[in-house]
């Protein structure tokens, strides 16, 4: 832990200093401002739309942060060969990966906390403007939705670390992470589709079913972390679901970072 913490702090500072972060925050602020405009066009459930937009803005900005700031934090060391300087220090490669990952996690939590704060402010101000159109609104599910977004982003960052541990260019890492994101969000729906193809009138071969099932267990099920609709309508979210999803996120993330450390320590640098 002693070796990991300084590295985590450096990584966090490096991430915060990145210029791209300003762009991402500016985009988020624009979306929060747009919340007001769009909500003015809604007839009845203004509250639902306000929560939708605010949470989607946090999730989307967080995604950009992981893809364009997060990936660079590790890949830049590899691209620019500054990794040699780090590895010359008395620190194992596994510790290096964990240090970077802890720094990245700090960055994600800070970003989601501040974006989330803006999101809550934006929802609050829309509510202030249209108080009669928030019939089923509660803050608690919105906060849970924000927490799960943060966890989803950490998981995605872990995946990007795994890809960076064996690829030679940061672009390949970016592409693989984006692909995993899409698969992660669609895989459970596709699995349900191929398991009951008669519902939509398609035919699916046995090989496809096996392939989809393999993908289901290999890729993270990111749709578990998406409770935006439930938060927007204040639907009941059982605590067993929340606990299960958090445990799943933690286990998968630790497994992936551990794997990334293993691969990275066996990697040969030119």
């Amino acid at each position: 832990m002693k070796a990991i913490w300084p590295l985590a702090v450096i990584t966090f500072k490096e991430g915060i200093r990145n210029r791209a972060i300003y762009g991402i925050f500016l985009l988020a602020l624009l979306l929060f401002a747009a919340n007001f405009l769009i909500c003015g066009m809604i007839m009845q459930e203004v509250g639902k739309v306000a929560v939708d937009i605010a949470l989607s803005a946090v999730s989307f900005s967080g995604l950009l942060l992981v893809l364009f700031v997060g990936i660079n934090l590790l890949a830049k060391d590899l691209d620019r060969r500054t990794i040699y300087m780090v590895l010359a220090r008395p620190i194992s490669r596994g510790q290096y990966i964990w240090g970077k990952f802890v720094g990245m996690t700090l960055l994600i939590f800070t970003a989601v906390a501040s974006l989330g704060g803006c999101a809550l402010l934006s929802i609050g101000s829309v509510r202030f403007a249209f108080p009669n159109y928030f019939p089923r609104f509660a803050w608690e599910p919105v906060l849970w939705a924000l927490a799960l977004i943060a966890l989803m982003l950490v998981l995605l960052a872990a995946l990007s670390f795994l890809f960076a541990s064996f690829t030679t260019s940061s672009f390949v890492t970016l592409v693989l992470t984006v692909v995993s994101y899409f698969i992660g969000h669609g895989v459970s729906a596709i699995k349900a589709l191929v398991e009951a193809p008669e519902a939509v009138g398609i035919e699916v071969s046995a090989a496809t079913v096996r392939l989809v099932k393999a993908a289901y267990y290999m890729f993270p099920n990111l749709s578990l972390f998406d409770i935006k609709i439930q938060a927007a309508h204040n639907l009941e979210i059982p605590w067993t679901y929340l606990a299960g999803t958090i445990a799943y996120g933690l286990v998968y993330t630790i497994m992936i970072v551990f794997l990334a450390g293993l691969i990275f320590s066996r990697r040969e640098f030119p």
Binding site: I42, Q44, K48, V51, S59, L222, D226, I229
Partner: protein, 287 residues
């Protein structure tokens, strides 16, 4: 200094050229043959897959697209044939919005309010409303819309009363819903249903004024049901239907004809059902 002046001049010329070209090319673009917007909307399951974690947001966007498309028919003079096409398109957009987020009330509200003006669309609207009927189990508006559509456009009193009964049991439902449901159930020859439903609602009603209202209706329906059974008994015993209610008394089936709590008097209608001259509403001068 001269170089700066030339630079500024060049910039102004380029700016003016930009505005000129933009205007002209845009005008030329207007006469360009355009592909017709067929208004095709992707099917719901596919949309859900594509939208991923932004399903709720996508539903909002489809709803707004529906609003804008409908707005076009109000703004411009649209031929009837085209109007029909636009309405189908608006329906497809709103239907997609409810596929993406079936809990979202606005598309249901807007579809019902604007598209039901075209009676041919009503069955489709009803299918759409059904999507949210049981998911939004706190909402009495959707069953109310369905009940109204069945009563008004489809003339199906029995179905209408079923929806209204469902709506009346939901929290904060308009008190009128109960009366309407019971009235329609009675009109659809479902007196027994109407009685059971009113009893259920009465047990949950605390407001004295509302209770009184339901109590009167319950009393009237119970009396009607009593007379219906008497008519059935008459048919069973004497092999023919009584000509009027007096016949029931004359033949000893019932001791007397009960009084209508609404102030009217009961009679046997041409279709064989028991009705009252009050039509189960209070006379205008109170009681």
């Amino acid at each position: 200094m001269r170089r700066v002046a030339v630079g500024v001049l060049l910039l102004i010329c380029l700016g003016m050229a930009h505005v000129f070209l933009l205007e002209n090319t845009s005008r030329a673009q207007r006469v360009l043959p355009q592909p017709q917007d067929s208004g095709y909307v992707l099917p719901g399951p596919l949309l859900r897959l594509i939208a991923g974690e932004f399903r709720g947001l996508a539903a909002d966007i489809y709803f707004l697209k529906g609003l804008v498309t409908f707005g076009r028919t109000l703004e411009q003079r649209v031929e009837d044939a085209e109007k029909e096409q636009v309405w189908q398109q608006v329906f497809a957009l709103l239907d997609a919005a409810t596929d993406l987020d079936p809990y979202f009330f606005d598309p249901y509200y807007f579809a019902n309010a604007s598209l039901s003006r075209n009676p041919a669309m009503v069955p489709k609207i009803n299918t759409m409303l059904e999507k949210g009927l049981y998911l939004r189990d706190w909402d009495w508006m959707l069953p109310f819309y369905l009940g109204f559509n069945h009563f008004y456009y489809l003339q199906d009193n029995v179905k209408a009363s079923e929806y209204l009964m469902l709506g009346a049991q939901r929290p904060n439902a308009m008190p009128l819903l109960t009366t309407l449901a019971a009235r329609l159930a009675y009109k659809g020859n479902r007196t027994e249903n109407a009685i059971g439903f009113l009893r259920g609602i009465l047990s949950k009603t605390e407001d004295e004024k509302t209770r009184e209202l339901y109590q009167t209706r319950l009393e009237a329906l119970e009396k009607i049901f009593y007379l219906e059974r008497a008519v059935a008994y008459h048919l069973e015993q004497f092999g023919d239907e009584p000509k009027d209610l007096q016949a029931l008394v004359r033949r000893g089936v019932i001791p007397e004809i009960p009084a209508d709590p609404y102030g009217g008097s009961f009679f046997i209608a041409d279709d064989g059902s028991i009705q009252s001259t009050s039509d189960l509403v209070y006379a205008k001068d109170g009681k």
